[in-house]
């Protein structure tokens, strides 16, 4: 058997199954958004309606806001946490275990837990009441179903900080402390060693993890469904609502939204590929 055949045989099932499903799904969504399947007459009206509606633009803006803020804060906090966990302190093992355990908690659980924790009548509001800070729930800051999507962002931070931290810890483990120690011995301050030696080495892993987080926070449905305000809706919620609307004419619009999101996702994918995939060579991780 030649290498070529061997590679084909090894890759075949994965390509046919997942490649097939992904390309068919994208293709079908594109056809449906253009009124091409079932064949009516190709037109761009769904895109015109979607792009021309203030609701879509508000939803897009909200989802970009949620994904950007969640990713930025989660990345910064995760960097700090990873550096913290690299050092020794009492209880470090415990924190490390909790970080790993968080990874196993589904997002929907986190969203509902956070709702019961930070809503205006939630556990924190009750503590504030007990401390004499507020009298009525309405006096507690609105952190859920609020215009800034704070509850949604908090959920993502809660879930994604451990995720990014674990990636960074793995990277730190492979890097070791050698380079930093050399820099320190050459007179660099602790900050300089971090800024000019460690951070550049961590950057690709951090950026790749952030891209995954951004894509997820942009495209997830159940978290904004549970914690979002009535308007504007996050893009996935708006798309699903258009898709399940009993008015069939809204379906091409739903597919149009999904194609637009896919476009953004493909841009993200190319960025991710630049950051993580080697141009050539055997290494694939």
């Amino acid at each position: 058997m030649t290498d070529r055949t061997r590679i084909l045989l090894l890759l075949g099932p994965a390509l046919v199954l997942v490649g097939g499903m992904v390309l068919s799904a994208l293709g079908l969504a594109l056809l449906r958004s253009l009124h091409l399947f079932p064949v009516v007459a190709p037109d761009l009206s769904a895109y015109a309606t979607v792009l021309g509606s203030p609701g879509f633009l508000a939803s897009l803006a909200l989802s970009v806001w949620i994904a950007t803020v969640s990713t930025a804060l989660a990345a910064a906090l995760a960097l700090a946490l990873a550096l913290l966990l690299r050092r020794g302190f009492p209880g470090r093992g415990m924190v490390a275990v909790l970080v790993q355990l968080n990874l196993t908690v589904p997002h929907v659980v986190g969203a509902i837990g956070l709702l019961y924790l930070v809503s205006q009548s939630g556990a924190f509001a009750r503590l504030a009441h007990a401390a004499g800070l507020i009298a009525r729930p309405g006096e507690f800051p609105a952190l859920t179903h609020d215009p800034y999507a704070i509850g949604i962002i908090l959920t993502y931070i809660w879930k994604e900080v451990p995720f990014i931290t674990l990636i960074l810890l793995a990277k730190l483990q492979t890097l070791g402390e050698g380079h930093e120690q050399v820099a320190r011995s050459l007179g660099a301050t602790r900050w300089q060693a971090f800024r000019h030696v460690l951070l550049p080495q961590l950057a690709p892993a951090l950026a790749a993890a952030s891209a995954l987080v951004f894509a997820f926070a942009f495209g997830a449905y159940e978290i904004p469904l549970i914690l979002g305000a009535h308007a504007p809706e996050a893009l996935p919620v708006a798309a699903w609502r258009a898709f399940t609307d009993v008015d069939l004419t809204r379906r091409p619009q739903a597919f149009a939204i999904s194609v637009l999101v896919a476009g953004l996702g493909i841009a993200l994918l190319l960025l991710y590929a630049r950051l993580t995939l080697p141009q050539r060579g055997r290494h694939a991780g």
Binding site: S121, G138, A231, D245, L248
Partner: protein
């Protein structure tokens, strides 16, 4: 590659679909239909958010159909019937006409209209059910589902009428009509809100304001009238926008679901909740979610009532068993069981006077939950539903003019 594969899948499943042909069933006698149904399975898609309703269906109803007919009832809990209507629509688009996933759906209003208009309902079979005789089809509120003639496409299951809930320990004397409620809201800033339409419950609250602005529903009944709508809608948005600064969070945000409103009420953030089905108030108190001092009331100018139904989709593969189930649901015994306060407290869809003396005595013996305003009292001032075109126009108008 897809087409042959799909055809193959259809072939293999079609072999097990025995009572998909509705026309053949309609030509049979009831006894023949029961024979066809025996040993079948019914996938009943229904809202699954209340465990006592789930228990009534899974324990009582499923028990009866299994014992008497050998039918297996598979209750499929859903959160929104619109999604299931959409699923059936998708199936029709994909050419699935005999092997649909849904055998029965709990439905009314806009979803029913969509199914009927799109030819997704199995129609013309309801008169075959022996217990159909218990239904008073002369009552327009039963013969029409949100103004759309039922036409033998669905079987009534419950009747409901909108009511408000309040905590008598907090608000001892609630307002008694819409004008009074509006004054109350302005006098008590931040203590009232309603779910944003198209939420089902928020939408019906806005319709009460719409009726109020129109001076009553009489002029609005019948087909959609754009001129009339524009006139009344203008006044309605004015009233609601004037109220907005006095609402919870000053109207910047509205709850998205009635559950959120219930939560606000439970925690004392707002003074009122409301529901299309007042039995829900009793359930919330029983579950410990709401205070024991919860009471409920209608409005002197009336509250909106409607009927909800069960419907068999056109592509159900188990139509015979689904019909038998519909017949059981309509029986005096099953309607009495769900009317019991401790079971569900749902008002019957049948004419009690047409049932057996035992069933009638059973109904007479039911003691209402103290938190639930009796159906007879609400019925003194009942308002009809509008046709669904009006509903859609009101919901869309609200989103643009009030909820933006």
């Amino acid at each position: 590659m897809l087409r042959p594969l799909a055809a193959l899948l259809l072939l293999t499943t079609a072999a097990t679909a025995d009572t998909a042909d509705g026309e053949a069933l309609k030509a049979m006698t009831w006894d023949q239909i029961v024979e066809e149904a025996r040993g079948g399975t019914v996938n009943w898609f229904m809202w699954g958010g209340a465990d006592n309703i789930n228990a009534y269906v899974s324990d009582y109803v499923a028990g009866v159909v299994q014992r008497d007919y050998g039918i297996t009832l598979n209750r499929v809990p859903i959160t929104d019937a619109a999604e299931i209507v959409n699923l059936i629509l998708s199936e029709k688009e994909a050419g699935i006409t005999e092997t649909g996933t849904v055998d029965l759906i709990w439905i009314n209003g806009e979803n029913f209209r969509s199914m009927k208009d799109a030819g997704l309902a199995f129609c013309g079979h309801t008169a075959l059910l022996p217990n159909d005789a218990l239904v008073n089809w002369d009552n327009p509120a039963i013969a029409n589902d949100f103004g759309v003639p039922v036409d033998g496409c669905e079987v009534p299951w419950n009747t409901v009428q909108f009511a408000f809930a309040h905590d008598s320990a907090v608000v001892a004397e609630p307002p008694r009509d819409m004008a009074g409620l509006i004054d109350w809201i302005k006098a008590n800033p931040g203590r009232f809100t309603y779910p944003a339409p198209p939420d089902f419950t928020g939408s019906v609250f806005v319709r009460h304001v719409f009726y109020h602005a129109a001076g009553g529903p009489e002029a609005l009944l019948g087909p959609f009238d754009q001129a009339k709508f524009d006139e009344v809608a203008g006044k309605t948005w004015e009233i609601l926008n004037e109220l907005e600064p006095f609402l919870w969070r000053e109207g910047a945000t509205y709850p998205t679901t009635v559950t959120q409103l219930n939560e606000l009420f439970a925690n004392g953030e707002v003074a009122f909740s409301f529901n299309y089905d007042p039995a829900q108030f009793g359930l919330a108190v029983q579950a410990g979610l709401w205070p024991e001092t919860t009471r409920s009331f209608g409005l002197a100018d009336g509250t909106i009532g409607n009927t909800n139904y069960t419907l068999i989709p056109f592509n159900s593969p188990n139509k015979a068993a689904a019909m038998v189930l519909q017949n059981v649901l309509l029986s005096g015994e099953a309607q009495l069981e769900k009317a019991r306060t401790e079971v569900w407290g749902a008002a019957p869809a049948i004419d009690i006077a047409r049932t057996s003396p035992e069933v009638q005595a059973g109904f007479a013996a039911i003691e209402a939950h103290p938190s639930v305003v009796p159906a007879e009292e609400l019925a003194k001032a009942a308002l009809p539903e509008l046709q669904t075109d009006w509903l859609t126009a009101i919901e869309q108008g609200w989103t643009v003019n009030v909820g933006n």
